[in-house]
C-alpha cells in the first residue's frame, strides 16, 4: 500500500488516499449528526473533540505525510500545537466563566 519515497517518507497509493478521504467524510457526517441526537452536553463535547482530533491527525499524518517524515518537521508542528492547546485551555479555564477579559 505504501512505498518509501526518496526523501524519506512513505508514499501511498491513490486508492489509499481516497480511502482516507472517504473515512474523513464519514466522520464529518457523523460530527454533524451527533449534534441532532440530543446527547448530554459533556458527551457531545467529548465526541466532537475526539472526532476533530482523529480528522486532524489523519490529515497531518497521511496527507501532509508527517508520519514517517523527518523528526525536525514533527517537532516544528507538534511543539507549537501543544503550546497553542495549552494556551487555549488555560484561557478557557481562566476566563470562560467570566464576562470576558475586559469585563
Amino acid at each position: 500500500m505504501a512505498e518509501k519515497h526518496s526523501n524519506g517518507h512513505a508514499e501511498h497509493t491513490p486508492r489509499f488516499y481516497l480511502l482516507v478521504g472517504a473515512v474523513l467524510a464519514v466522520i464529518t457526517v457523523a460530527e454533524v449528526l451527533v449534534t441532532f441526537i440530543g446527547l448530554p452536553q459533556i458527551v457531545l463535547l467529548a465526541l466532537l473533540l475526539i472526532m476533530m482530533v482523529v480528522k486532524g491527525a489523519a490529515v497531518v499524518m497521511f496527507f501532509m505525510h508527517l508520519r514517517g517524515d523527518a523528526n525536525i518537521f514533527k517537532f516544528l508542528f507538534i511543539a507549537p500545537l501543544l503550546m497553542a492547546t495549552t494556551m487555549l485551555l488555560a484561557f478557557q479555564a481562566l476566563f470562560s466563566g467570566h464576562v470576558g477579559i475586559g469585563g
Binding site: A25, E31, T35, V59, M64, L76, A84, S96, V99, G100
Partner: protein, 226 residues
C-alpha cells in the same frame, strides 16, 4: 572546506535532498521553512479561536447575537466537505506528479484550486447572509468582530492558497516530475492541507459546539448583573 562541502552534499543526496537546498539536518531548507511557518500559523489561529471563545460569553451578556441562532451548519458542512475533498485532490496531484502523469496532475491540481474557489464562494454567501440577513457586522457586536476576524483570516488563507496552487501549477506543468518541481508541489500542498486542518478545528469548535460551557457563563452573568 571543500571536504566539508563534499561530505555535506553527499550526505544530503543520500537522504534524497537536493544539495542546493540541503541543511545540516539533511532536510530540504524550503520544506523546513514551510513547516516552521505552519508552526507559527498554528499559534496564530489558536490565538484567534481563543479570543472568540473567551469573548463569547461577554458578547451574549452585552446582548450580542447568539451564535447558535445565527450560525447555520448547512452551508458550513458543505464547506467542510469541499475543503476535505480538496485535500484529497491535492495529495492525488502530488502522487501523479511523482509518477510523472501530467494529465492526472493537471486534473487534480486544477480540481484543488477549483474546490478552493468553491469554498470562497460559499464563505462569501455565508458572510452575506450574516451581514445582510442578520445585520451582523464587525462594529455591531463582539461576536461580529471575533467571528469575522477568525473566519475572514481563514478565508484569506484559502485565497492565498488558491493563488499559490495556480502559480505552482503554471510553473511546473511542463515537467512536474523533476525533483525540484515535485518539491514545489509538495510545499504548496503542505500549506493547502494546513488550511484544511484549520477548518477542521473551526468547523467543530465554532459551528458544532456553540454551547461551549453555557451554564457557567449564565451563572456568572447573573452575578455580574446583580
Amino acid at each position: 572546506m571543500s571536504q566539508i562541502s563534499t561530505t555535506s552534499s553527499h550526505s544530503a543526496a543520500s537522504h534524497g535532498v537536493q544539495a542546493d537546498h540541503a541543511t545540516s539536518m539533511h532536510v530540504d531548507s524550503r520544506k523546513l521553512g514551510v513547516w516552521a511557518f505552519i508552526g507559527s500559523e498554528v499559534m496564530f489561529f489558536a490565538a484567534l479561536i481563543t479570543v472568540y471563545l473567551v469573548y463569547k460569553p461577554r458578547n451574549l451578556a452585552a446582548g450580542g447575537p447568539d451564535p447558535k441562532e445565527v450560525l447555520g451548519i448547512g452551508v458550513t458542512s458543505a464547506l467542510a466537505a469541499i475543503l476535505l475533498a480538496s485535500s484529497v485532490t491535492m495529495v492525488l496531484a502530488l502522487a501523479a506528479a511523482r509518477r510523472g502523469d501530467r494529465r492526472q496532475f493537471t486534473i487534480w491540481m486544477l480540481s484543488t484550486a477549483g474546490l478552493g474557489l468553491c469554498f470562497l464562494g460559499g464563505q462569501a454567501y455565508e458572510f452575506t447572509e450574516l451581514i445582510v440577513g442578520e445585520g451582523i457586522t464587525m462594529p455591531t457586536s463582539l461576536f461580529g468582530q471575533t467571528f469575522f476576524i477568525l473566519t475572514g483570516f481563514h478565508g484569506t488563507h484559502v485565497a492565498i492558497g488558491v493563488i499559490w496552487l495556480l502559480a505552482t501549477f503554471f510553473k511546473v506543468r511542463a515537467y512536474p516530475k523533476s525533483r525540484e518541481n515535485v518539491m514545489d508541489i509538495e510545499l504548496a500542498g503542505l500549506y493547502w492541507h494546513f488550511v484544511d486542518l484549520v477548518w477542521v478545528g473551526i468547523f467543530t469548535i465554532i459551528y458544532l459546539m456553540p454551547d461551549f460551557a453555557p451554564e457557567a457563563a449564565l451563572v456568572l452573568f447573573r452575578h455580574a448583573g446583580g
